[in-house]
């Protein structure tokens, strides 16, 4: 008890935190261990996919270096291979798909949660879920055989009226032609038509996420809006949409993830074209996934490695999109409810 300070009888012993035995029960400990193992396994799988693709793309990287990202051709004879046109095409098709799917998904989800009577609601949910379960090759075939003729007509109409917008132009095609049969092929197999097919398969996924979040909008706030004399549309505007923002973002991003990776439906519809262009109505485009499926069987080791490299680019790109989405979603109020 020596004290140099004039404060008086200051005690020397300072509070130290004491050790507490958390005393986790055995069952909890087993579960925690199991959960941790599974979580780590998922991470390990993700990492090994990345490492595998990285090592497989080594040959291509040695050959092309960073110019792989600026090369738009995929010339097999001269082995001039690059990912630029693939990446642009992938983003274009996905953007078309999202632009079409999200408005439909949003109205579908709102109709189901806000307007549909109880019994119709269950039927509609089942139908939309069923739509999500249809294999993508079916959407590809439907898009190709059933929709393409009509979509080409629509594309021509859009070209006619909005052709002055660069991305809706189709150079060399005359939308007012009387000889439609000779012109139609200029509007087929385009990013637009592939995007519509992809939109069909993306829409139910988006709608499911949005519906789930919308239905969790707090009943108290809904009633508040109604009790003020609000219409259902008023409830949607003042309660459901502000609450469901994360669901809209989450659903869109989930759809975007699927659209970026969609393979077979696009491969069925498009005609490969490797020029970097954003003209979505024009015949021909290419995406990373469809290029892989179209070229995989008949490639030299270098070309195979280049495909792997392109796959790695897609992998990283999708990862980035999803991370951004998760960040946006987790910052909003309903974020806890959505998983993407």
């Amino acid at each position: 008890m020596t004290n140099a300070k004039p404060v008086g009888t200051a005690t020397v012993d300072v509070d130290t935190p004491r050790a507490i035995d958390p005393g986790l029960p055995v069952a909890d400990r087993v579960f925690r261990g199991g959960a941790r193992a599974v979580g780590l396994l998922v991470l390990a799988i993700m990492a090994s996919i990345g490492v595998f693709m990285f090592s497989e793309s080594g040959i291509a990287f040695d050959e092309f270096g960073w110019s792989f990202f600026t090369e738009h051709r995929w010339a097999l004879e001269t082995n001039q291979l690059g990912v630029l046109s693939l990446l642009v095409g992938t983003v274009t098709v996905a953007a078309v798909a999202i632009a079409i799917a999200v408005p439909f998904a949003l109205t579908t989800a709102l109709f189901i949660t806000e307007y549909a009577p109880l019994r119709a609601r269950r039927t509609l949910i089942a139908l939309v879920d069923l739509m999500a379960a249809v294999p993508s090759v079916v959407y590809g075939l439907v898009g190709l055989i059933l929709f393409q003729p009509y979509l080409a007509d629509i594309a021509r109409w859009i070209h006619d009226f909005f052709g002055w917008i660069a991305i809706l132009d189709v150079p060399g095609a005359d939308p007012d032609t009387t000889n439609w049969n000779n012109t139609a092929h200029q509007y087929t197999s385009s990013a637009f038509i592939a995007g519509v097919a992809v939109a069909l398969m993306v829409m139910p996924v988006c709608a499911a996420v949005m519906r789930e979040v919308f239905s969790q909008a707090p009943a108290g706030e809904r009633e508040a809006a109604l009790a003020l004399g609000g219409t259902r549309w008023g409830v949607i505007r003042s309660v459901v949409l502000p609450f469901g923002r994360s669901g809209i973002v989450g659903g869109t991003m989930l759809g975007l993830g699927r659209a970026l990776g969609e393979t077979i439906a696009i491969a069925l519809i498009i005609v490969p074209a490797f020029d970097v262009k954003l003209r979505i109505l024009e015949n021909g485009t290419i995406t990373i996934a469809s290029q892989i499926i179209l070229r995989f069987g008949e490639s030299s080791p270098l070309q195979l490695s280049a495909l792997m490299f392109a796959g790695l680019v897609l992998f990283v790109f999708t990862l980035i999109v999803n991370t951004i989405a998760a960040a946006v979603v987790s910052r909003s109020r309903s974020g806890a409810a959505t998983e993407i």
Partner: protein, 302 residues
Amino acid sequence: MHSNESSGTADDPSPAPAAGTATAVLPEVPDVTAVQPKAEAPDALGAKLEADRVSAWFGDHKVLERVSLTMEPGSVTALIGPSGCGKSTFLRILNRMHELVPSAALAGEVRLDGTDIYAPGQRVTETRRRIGMVFQKPNPFPAMSIDENVTAGLKLTGGRRRRDERQELVERCLTKAGLWREVKDRLSQPGSSLSGGQQQRLCIARSLAVQPDVLLMDEPCSALDPTSTRRIEETIAELRNEVTIVIVTHNMQQAARVSQYCAFFLAEEGSPGSVVEQADTETMFGSPSDPRTSDYIHGRFG
């Protein structure tokens, strides 16, 4: 003043002179005679609300049996009774919130200034605007700021206002709800940043902004501390000459303090809820005519 038919046991409420019961603590209410008067009560705004033989069901389960009650302008009507006897159900019937429950049904009439609100052709949104509601749990819109919360009803009912008019309205409603001084410097903060009692007063201000004729309150103070409760009771007293107020409460002192008229709901074993007794508050708390009322008021059951 209060008509009272059919529900049996209640005495005719005679306008007996004040017998010095618990109601003596009401604060002075501002004189509003200068403002345009209404037909029934020349000194009070607000509308007369009459429930006429109202019954209610959830599916096959009947929860209300022929409730008749008149809620006069210029007065606060308190609904009391044990849990589950149908007070909230009755209240929600009064502004057509009951029908939002899919299995819900009802019988009887609810007349707002003589017009049945359930008559065909009555617009439900307009009815709900005229008959506002404050809920048990404060429910401000969390995505909106405080002033946007107050004017939310205008947007919802399509009422467009100029900016300065809106600001004036925000101030007026918040003042009436007794919240203005506390929030006037933070109007752009989100409504959810307020305390529970402040949120509830914000909800009252929001209800007032659409100029209702009747204000229904379902246990508005049950989640609040005594100070906030007192503020809201003061608010109710100040508002009663402007809107007809109906309040559900589990707090007998509160019913005695804020109301002029009182209805006791009871659902006996296996039977739907009904009004056992209704009278002005002094009679109800001073000399209840039904022994069950007396038992309930004095905390002997329920």
